[in-house]
Amino acid sequence: MWKLLKIELFKIFKRPRTYIAFGAIAAIVFLFQIALWFDGKTYIGLILGNIDTSFDFSDQFKTRLLNGYFVCFAVLNILLIQMPLLVALIAGDAIAGEANMGTLRLSLTKPVGRTQYMMGKFFASSIYTVSLLLFLAILALLGSIALFGTNDLVIFRSISIHQMSRDDIFWRYIAAFGYAAVALTTVASLAFLLSVFADNSIGPIIATMSIVIVFTILSEMNIPLYDRTIKPYLFTTHMVAWKGFFYVRSNEEGATIKGSIENLPAILKSLSVLLIYIVLFVSSAIWIFRRKDILS
């Protein structure tokens, strides 16, 4: 299995297009950091505009608010919506790419079971996903800390504001990146499943993105009918639960409780939903692949 995994990883990281995703992430993060470096106060002003009639926000407040932790959160807020596309580029190519090149049948002539072959492919796609996230973490978190320094983190939700002290943040990012790895692996497993049906990788990649986009729109819509019926079952609803690590509890006087998470059971529930989806997609892909006539 390890040998199979090494071969699949070699295949992934040998292709130049694999690095397009790394390049795209580096470009987006860098451009965002540059924009906030030069015009961050305008961005902060836009967010604070809603409450600046009640509070005094000095220039010093805005400068301190725009620290590395805040910049990283803003980057993740934008990038983690786009990242499924980058993940689908590789996972959607896993089987369909081999079929397209006509190497699938050849690969299966080796003394390796189809299940093992599929697991090797899936684990390789997952490792690619995690390495992409690790790269993002280094650039977005460590890069932003190096550029903007550290301070308290303030999260602006739709109807509440959560502030955490600077020594209570780093562990939240580790947890959030861990959760995001599971969320993106869900997308990878969906692309992996769709890849089984196609002989060309473009189909599964576009299909995966279409599903993610439609589901994301449904997840963000505030329609009571969908809130109760569809939303709880969409994996996209649970993909944003990494943010839950930045929602804190407060005591009776409204003061933040250090090290607290507002609703950990909700995050764990979302995590379980994603894990169920991964198991469902991957096992379906294996089941279908085992019964499939390999013609190319």
Partner: protein, 242 residues
Amino acid sequence: MIFSSTFIVFKKQRYNKYSFATIFFLSLLLNANAQTGEQVIQKIKMKLEKINDYQAEGTMKTNVAFIKAPVANVKIFYKKPDKLLILNETGISFIPKGSVNINVNNVFVHMQSFDIIDGGTDSEGLRVLKLLPKDDTADIVLSTLYIDEKNMVVKRSKTTTKENGTYELEMSYGKYLEYGLPDKIIFSFNTKDYKLPKGITLDYDDGSEKNGDTLKNKKGTVEIDYKNYVINKGVDNKIFDR
């Protein structure tokens, strides 16, 4: 019988005469000691004028329905006549508008702009003085001071403004009573609704924000516990330029 009843009436009349006289003299005496609103204000003003500047350390708790923030370690700087700065160690604190009013000296500095109306005493025995601005265009509509006449300090104040609603200030005194500086203040203020479109925040719905309506139009408070004051040791003007 007639004699005895006449005697009782006479005694009653005599008793009433003495009583009235006593009350009359007592009231004269009390009136002589009672201070007018202006006098009370003047005495407190003189007490507060002993302070040219101060810096104090303390902790600040912000209690606003839609804000969850840690208890902050703050430094408060004051310089005559009305410069005040609350400085958080991290620089990130939600300081309400009108926070300059946490410094009660501010009211006394501009006292010549107000007419003073004596409101008597309240149920706690505090002297109530109402300050009405002479200028119709002033932002302050009415300011009410609740004064502890024994110690000559302001215990509570309530200020209604045109632009920013009503501020209330409650002060507890201890070690620095002689300077008229509080050990603890609770500053209450009106907050406006806070709402950002969900499309901007892309919130994770963990079920904790369902009761959004309960967060609207509530009063917020800022509570500052002063640990120590350094009085009249000089405060650099530059510090207020932040």
